[in-house]
Symmetry: C2
Subunit: 336 residues, 2 copies
């Protein structure tokens, strides 16, 4: 991803909400990356404490956190997101430190941001306070998270750029950045030269749903949960593992016959890529895996099976830390 | 629930996975409760450290945790769950301390446990090691988690008791306990005199899905998330709140027009019971609430709305702590 960004002449500002790990963030540093995206003030503070000094919080500005935002903006280059005069006024009235901000543009997802039909508000979103600088326009193509091929990804990217460029043109400022990013289109495309930065995040691990969508191969998935077998039900060709909604989240892949993740064989050095059984149900702590006679007979209680999570961001959020294949513990931000 | 159990002459061994809080557990102590159910060795250790000395881990015995189980069994009265000779043999071979165990019976849920057609295995699940005592038979009616009325609850309870009693009779031991529990049937019924203990857990908070199922009223729901409004979209009558899958889990109520929780008005002393808008979509950090013109117009960015979670056990698991209505911080077990 760093090579693609470099070739396109754009910055890579990866979304760190996927891993929430200072140790994993260091791998990005080794690739020459110095900018990060996060989704909360808490995450921004954590990464600032761990040597990241240029962070965008890609979640709408929350007035209730203005004090933490101000404190953070005093020590790093911080950008926030706004999409209304109300939020900008709150920043102007309450934050005394230097702070950058992006205007969030809705490029078709219908979640947050200003749609093109509302672009008449854009001129009002220019700050009159020189401390608060409009850095650019930011979009997240949430509607790219579906079964997608290169042609469809290109269509979504091009439409997004068109909408972002229209907003920039209306604001009449050539210095405004266009920030774009999501894992599916950033994975399927190579040329991002019509924007200024990309912000994919999930690609650091990928997961079963990205594989189902077509944005990665199974061999690209870089995170696996080792789940102990706690019950074997030969009569219904199922095993029960210690691994449920509190470990994986309750996300699922609609239309997949293994909706809660991909089941793989663990090996001393990692795991085999080929799925060997189906993760068919899960409750709070239990995971139910369905498999062939051979699969069921090969296991005993206490064995570990590998599961490539359905949604790695959600599963990682639920874990206290990671372990690398060489046995090293990798830190993670945790709730207090 | 304590009064119901007492009137039925049975023990209440509430499931603490719902709150995972030593402070909230103390409220049970004040009601004369001294036994607890948990779903992990980690939770059992946490509650043992906080003065609970009679705990059942209502999750199949995990051989990989035998050392922690043994350590815990040395200092408290601990029960585990088994459903195979393999697990019992592992306990006999690896655990030297006194340990109680229940045999898990499948009363119709099809998740874990021995079905009545497999009861010929029961005599083999009697430990020959006097340190490891078969305490009783345990069931969880997971199939009661649906739209349910008193008659249906009674049917599920009665069928469960029949299956448990059949197992007890086959084992020919009058001292074996029957342990039963789930929030829907324990909420809808009053008489549990045909078992020895009940283990509901969710009832401490209840939630939107239990309300939808019919096992509680909205006024019984005792936990609420305060979520800041971060974006207002008058054009589509929606607001965006800071409250998504990493806060609520991705659980949802199929068939509800407010599938991700109930939206209520916060007041200085708590919240109003009447839902005022619909929680219609959620992604990782964003919650999307749909409401009337009046509702949308009444809000500004930074206001807090109350959300009664769809599934309180999952939402609580995702929080670092609680705050009581009087402003007191309530502790919670957290991941490391």
């Amino acid at each position: 991803m760093a090579a693609k960004a470099e070739k396109s002449g754009v910055a890579l500002r990866p979304h760190f909400k996927t891993h929430q790990s200072a140790d994993i963030a260091n791998w990005f540093k080794e690739e020459g990356i110095s900018k990060a995206t996060v989704s909360s003030v808490e995450m921004a503070t954590y990464f600032a404490d761990n040597g990241w000094h240029d962070i965008t919080i890609a979640f709408p500005y929350n007035p209730l956190e203005h004090k933490s935002i101000e404190q953070l903006a005093q020590r790093i280059k911080l950008n926030v997101l706004i999409e209304s005069e109300e939020s900008l006024k709150h920043i102007n009235d309450n934050i005394n430190s230097t702070l950058g901000y992006f205007i969030k543009i809705d490029v078709g997802t219908g979640r947050t941001g200003i749609t093109s039909s509302q672009f008449n508000v854009l001129p009002k979103l220019r700050s009159k306070n020189p401390k608060h600088e409009l850095v650019g326009l930011l979009a997240h193509a949430g509607h790219a998270y579906k079964k997608i091929d290169r042609a469809e990804a290109l269509k979504i990217y091009s439409q997004s750029v068109e909408i972002l460029s229209q907003a920039k043109s209306l604001l009449g400022d050539q210095h405004l950045m266009l920030s774009y990013g999501d894992t599916p289109t950033c994975s399927l495309l190579d040329d991002f030269s019509t924007v200024n930065e990309i912000r994919p995040g999930n690609f650091v691990f990928y997961d079963a749903i990205q594989n189902f969508y077509g944005s990665c191969g199974i061999s690209d998935i870089a995170v696996c949960m080792a789940c102990p077998v706690v019950a074997i039900h030969k009569d219904r060709n199922e095993i029960v593992v210690y691994g449920g909604g509190v470990h994986f989240s309750k996300d699922s892949i609609k239309g997949s016959d293994s909706p809660y993740g991909l089941v793989v064989t663990l090996t001393p050095s990692g795991w085999q890529q080929e799925p060997i059984a189906k993760f068919v149900r899960l409750s709070q702590e239990h995971g139910i895996i369905s498999g062939s006679d051979n699969f069921i007979s090969s296991l005993k209680i206490g064995d570990l099976v590998g599961i490539l999570p359905v949604h790695s961001c959600m599963a990682a959020d639920l874990q206290g830390s990671y372990r690398s294949l060489s046995g090293m513990r990798l830190s993670k931000l945790n709730k207090e």
